[in-house]
Symmetry: C2
Subunit: 263 residues, 2 copies
């Protein structure tokens, strides 16, 4: 375990801002909520906010900035969304054109930043319940897949739901449902258990985002709605510009996971 695991969200964000951390943020800042980022011009912000409201499992909103502001006042008032994520993706007209480690020059007066709950947050709760995370064991990114589950449309925003997958022994599945149900603001309960083809995934060994992980004999793949969904959507809507985090490279908030547990 890296020393960075012991640091506060603010300290970790400072390291990232200084260019000293470029890797995925899984298992960093345990106990604090991590978030997916989507940045859009104000012209599209209402539709996108509506899209998130209609798709709370894939797009549970943690915080939304005032138009033009890069400060997430409610979730991390000392942060800067232009510099505090380890890696960003720039989509132009729906096409991924670039990955970068800051977006300061791209942030205009009419940009709105959306922070969307991330499954990394509930992984700690699963681990605390004795359910290990394969992608942590294999030191890679969680595997993510486009599914045949359509997101609920809002204005121009429509497309498939993306899920993340964690394999586990059958005996752990029920507890995993219970544990994650407590956290609807970070995707909540799974959307599917078992048979990948039931949600349109043909080959578990070929994720659309992230890395492939081992599924051992007797293990069941468990699927949660994923905050990468907006990226899949962006390819359909083709906004002139949309900025997101790079998969696995999340924004770390000051909010404690336990504070958002519903009971």
């Amino acid at each position: 375990m890296n020393i960075i695991n012991q640091q506060s969200p603010r300290e970790i964000r400072q390291l990232i801002r200084n260019g000293e951390w470029h890797k995925p943020t899984s298992s960093l800042a345990n106990g604090f909520i991590q978030a997916n980022l989507a940045v859009l011009p104000k012209e599209m912000a209402f539709e996108f906010l509506l899209f998130c409201q209609r798709n709370p499992k894939s797009c549970p909103l943690i915080d939304v900035t005032e138009p033009g502001s890069f400060i997430p006042e409610l979730s991390a008032p000392t942060a800067d969304l232009r510099t505090d994520l380890p890696k960003y993706r720039i989509y132009r007209d729906g096409i991924l054109t670039e990955e970068r480690d800051q977006i300061t020059d791209l942030w205009t007066d009419d940009m709105v930043g959306f922070l969307i709950g991330c499954s990394f947050t509930f992984e700690e709760a699963l681990i605390n319940n004795g359910i290990p995370m394969r992608h942590n064991e294999e030191n890679c990114n969680v595997p993510m897949y486009r599914t045949s589950i359509p997101a609920v449309k809002a204005g121009r925003f429509e497309g498939p739901t993306v899920v993340s997958m964690r394999p586990m022994p059958e005996k752990d599945v029920i507890r995993a449902v219970q544990v994650t149900s407590r956290f609807p603001s970070v995707h909540g309960a799974p959307v599917h258990i078992g048979n990948p083809e039931g949600i349109g995934i043909r080959d578990l060994s070929q994720p659309d985002f992230g890395d492939c992980v081992t599924v051992k004999e007797g293990e069941v793949p468990v699927f949660w709605a994923c905050g990468v969904t907006p990226q899949a959507i962006a390819m359909h809507v083709k906004p002139e510009i949309m900025i997101t985090h790079a998969p696995g490279h999340m924004f770390i908030t000051d909010l404690k996971t336990e504070e958002i547990g519903v009971i």
Copy 2:
């Protein structure tokens, strides 16, 4: 108990649409989610949606229409938001100017309808747990109060949180917290228990909305964030036009309460 209690949400909405029911909707359509209504021009819709996102306890969104549409596709696709509530309030420049039983002529092409979870919905869960509702016993509307708890600001939208109050014996308070915590989309857990002055309420016998109810010797007042909050806010923001339900006269959806229980 009235015969209307046995009818489906769709049947009750039809009665209301035909002008055959003008009273509050508390205890109607048991098992189905009731909702507060707020209608605003599209120009203000992003800010208001953001306001709801930032104030999920007072403004938990159940459904939002596409601009211009009066059909809540996700929560009641056969309904018409212009006619299916028993009573509406029209605010012009922040002033309540009118109450009516339909708003068909006021609905323009750029109107957006917001349906916000209502505490009536969780009352059934409380009753099922042996916690009676005083305003039902006294056949009146639930008492609602402006508080000193500020709502989180979003753009022009700011102002005080409004709460509803239910008195109960001390022994029931803990169970009431547990039961309502299951339902974050209809205000969830209470925001305050006991001492009204702690949240800026000087006199329980003088509610700002709804009716006064008896608080018996030894009973504790329990306060929940209330979907009337947007009405209190409207008085601050003074939009040219804002239409809401009249307090207690809610929109009845086709969604079952148990479907939105988080665990």
